[in-house]
Amino acid sequence: MSGRFFGTAITRVEDARLLAGKGHYVDDIELPGMLHAAFVRASFAHGRIRTIDVSDALAMPGMAAIYTMADFADIAQGPMPPMAPHPLLKTPITYHPLADTEVRHVGEAIAIVLADTRAHAEDAAAAVTLDVEHLPAVSDAVLAREASSPKAHSEHPSNIVATMAAGFGDCAAVFAKAHHVLTEHFDIHRGGCHAMECRGVVANIDLLSDALTISTSSQSPYMVRRHLATYLKRDENDIRVMTPDVGGGFGPKANVYAEEFAVALAAIKSRRPVKWIEDRQEHFVATTQQRGQVWTLDVAFDNDGRMRAIRGHCIHDNGAYAPYGLILPATALASFPGPYALEALDLSVDVVLTNLVPTSPVRGACRPNVAFLLERLADRVARHLGMDRQEVRRRSFVRAEQMPYATGMKARDGSPISYDSGDYVAALNLVLDKIDAAGFEARRAEAKKRGKLRGLGIASCVEDTGLGPFEGASVRVTPAGKVIIATGASSQGQGHRTAFAQIAADALGVELEDVTVEAADTAKFPLGISTIGSRIAVTAGSSVQLAAHKVRAKAIAFASHQLEVGEHDLELEGGAVRVKGIREMKVKLSEIARVLAGNTGMTLPNDMEPDLAATAYFNSNALTFAYGANACEVEVDPDTGDIRVDRYVVVHDCGNLINPLIVDGQIRGGIVHGIGNALFERMIYDEEGQPLTTTYGDYFLPLASEMPRIEVHHMETPSPRNPIGVKGAGEGGTIPAAACVISAVEDALGPKGPFIPLHPISSQHVVQWLAAIDP
């Protein structure tokens, strides 16, 4: 699919404003009489609050009010509604907007302090004193699973809140027949999110109507509205939620947070606008984190390298609460069997509570974990058999001629999961060609002369994208001939405005600058789900296409009537409906819009419906599967253990590309995130649940100086499952990247080196591993 704009690498319409410092983020909002909030947060991982003494704090300069949960009792009570209920979660494990009595992780919000400035609010927050009965805490999910462990929630008899299972086929039979079986243990460490903009909320109450307006740095403004309305027992219509510019999301901002509720409650209680901006210290202890898991897996395979079945178990660290239900562990299970055509699978996950910050999806959710597991197993099988790693994959992958391919797994609604299209072997072959895998040994030898150990890594993945149920969009032409798109899909930097404008401009024959996109304001579009799971191009992009084509059809019908020309002889171009071949015979869109906007007493031509506008919702009833193959080369310094990623090549297929510039940016950013997971990002807690890495001096994010150039190649296999043939692209970079880098490091360490079953790895690891090899 291509058009004047669709498929072209045009620069983004968002950029000029952001580059000129004219972006408008939550912290840029100023309202008259606004109070600034700071939270009193727990400095301990587990305890029962006996008393909260705010008397000294209330006497401090600039103070307006301090609220605890008890102070909100006349407005609302109890824990927050669960965002994603799951039948296995018998009772929702959600926060109270402010801690009730028991606090379950360092950083949990206990009281909200309102003052004339943030500095005064922080001063006063520090003067609030707590009398706490300290309770034993657990910070390790493996230990937390033991019956003897302290309980993360004192009222729960076990820290295991759910045991989830997935699988297909007769695993025992396949294992019994397979030529080989190997068992490996994997440890994927917890990391953080670290959007460069922390979270933030401004809540304002209309003093006449009590209507609540909330601006929040969120991926899910409509979920904030829905759950807050439920909690406050209000109608959704009384709450307007919008997202201004959002400085990155990456998953954690999809949660509905306690602070969003607490700030809203504080605005209702104080009858003043209230702003809270999360600082980076708070981000480390109060924004959800990512994917700490421990796995044990058995793989059954044959002499020819074909992987036939996998079985095993996972201990999933869910942290202290389950604000997002079981989405994260469910995603881990659902990501199997990746690109592999397995005969059988038998997996279970224990979802375990700890006294740590909750985990929820971060870029890829648990898909990167599963890519790591599967790709590590493929490398392990190759090593065991003395075969080429590529060959194990070629023999084990789903083949192009098997598409659509039913994996054996079931979707959340119970329907069978089936990969829609793709050629995983071709992607692998292409990436190996692009990185010149054939010439690698020469590069390894050259590096050896320089005293460096060079390794080649490979990793593939399949990614389910376009998660349902829907997003929607309305497209409207104004009497000035401008096109206004409204959608519920919030944006955190993905370039949605550009992509949607490209789709609509093609359909309506207008220029990009004629199109305005209004996104994620509940007052401007009625429904929205969430910007998660690489789903917006599929869901909202398709909706824009459907709505724009309805508008196009209406404009053509109007012009056909007015010009007395058959509809099939008309086309849209240059802001007008024109007779094909006779450009000057036309009706401008602005004119149609003006007539359909109505004039007093004038009937509309042909009894048409008013307004040159349409709304459409694309129901994404079947997932669409993007995939990719990555290859990279690393150099290891055997003296220092330093690991440098030297080259990185990606082959990715996300169907039709709406804008290659944007897709490449998504891929590159995602890969750097995955390199961070592989080599740098480690969120460390002590046994008491105290976080030890709460600055960027302790928690390392990937920096430009350590990152390689990333070469991206696209295959474009259109998805048959949506009207624009796209698949999601937001997470496909991250998913295989950690696996690819670790594969390369293992290759660099050579056949005597260890099998690497964990990440992140550090130079200390490398030095130790090399020392163990040396005689």
Binding site: R12, R17, G21, D27, M196, G248, G493, Q494, G733
Partner: protein, 159 residues
């Protein structure tokens, strides 16, 4: 706390304003002067989002007190081009997709603006080291690096 008067040059204009002695320059620019183009990302001098140029040098505005700019020349992102007339560096960011969410972007721009004034012909590795104190979570840095290299070579071709 008693506010102190500071006199300084901001984006070419002489300004006088009062500042709380404990307020950092970033908050002062944003909340006292309303220049919200400078963004606060970590407040411990590590992420670089708040970078502005003080007396020609890139400075983390979260690590400098507002009262310290008395007598100084301060440049913020608002001193570069406007939306309709971007500076060559800003334009190169757009052309190379050197930004996504835009939050780190003003700091990146000011770091590179200061860097390119004193390093007119940088290598790729020079640029990567120059921005190694500016964290971007979105782009993977490649577009930013290319934008700086393109800007440098365009300037070299002009002179």
């Amino acid at each position: 706390m008693t506010e102190r008067s500071v006199t300084f040059t901001l984006n070419g204009e002489r300004r006088e304003a009062n500042a709380d002695p404990r307020m950092h320059l970033g908050d002062f620019l944003r909340h006292s002067l309303g220049l919200t183009g400078t963004h606060i990302g970590c407040e411990h001098g590590a992420c670089g989002a708040c970078t502005v140029i003080v007396d020609g040098a890139p400075v983390r505005s979260c690590l400098m007190l507002a009262v310290q700019i008395d007598g100084c020349t301060v440049e913020t992102v608002e001193s570069l081009g406007k939306p309709g007339e971007l500076s060559p560096l800003q334009q190169a960011f757009a052309t190379n997709h050197g930004l996504q969410c835009g939050f780190c972007t003003p700091g990146m721009l000011m770091t590179l603006e200061a860097f390119l004034r004193v390093t007119p012909a940088p290598s790729e590795q020079d640029v990567r080291i120059a921005i190694s104190g500016n964290i971007c979570r979105c782009t993977g840095y490649q577009g930013i690096v290319q934008a700086a290299l393109d800007t440098a070579s365009a300037r070299a071709n002009q002179s």
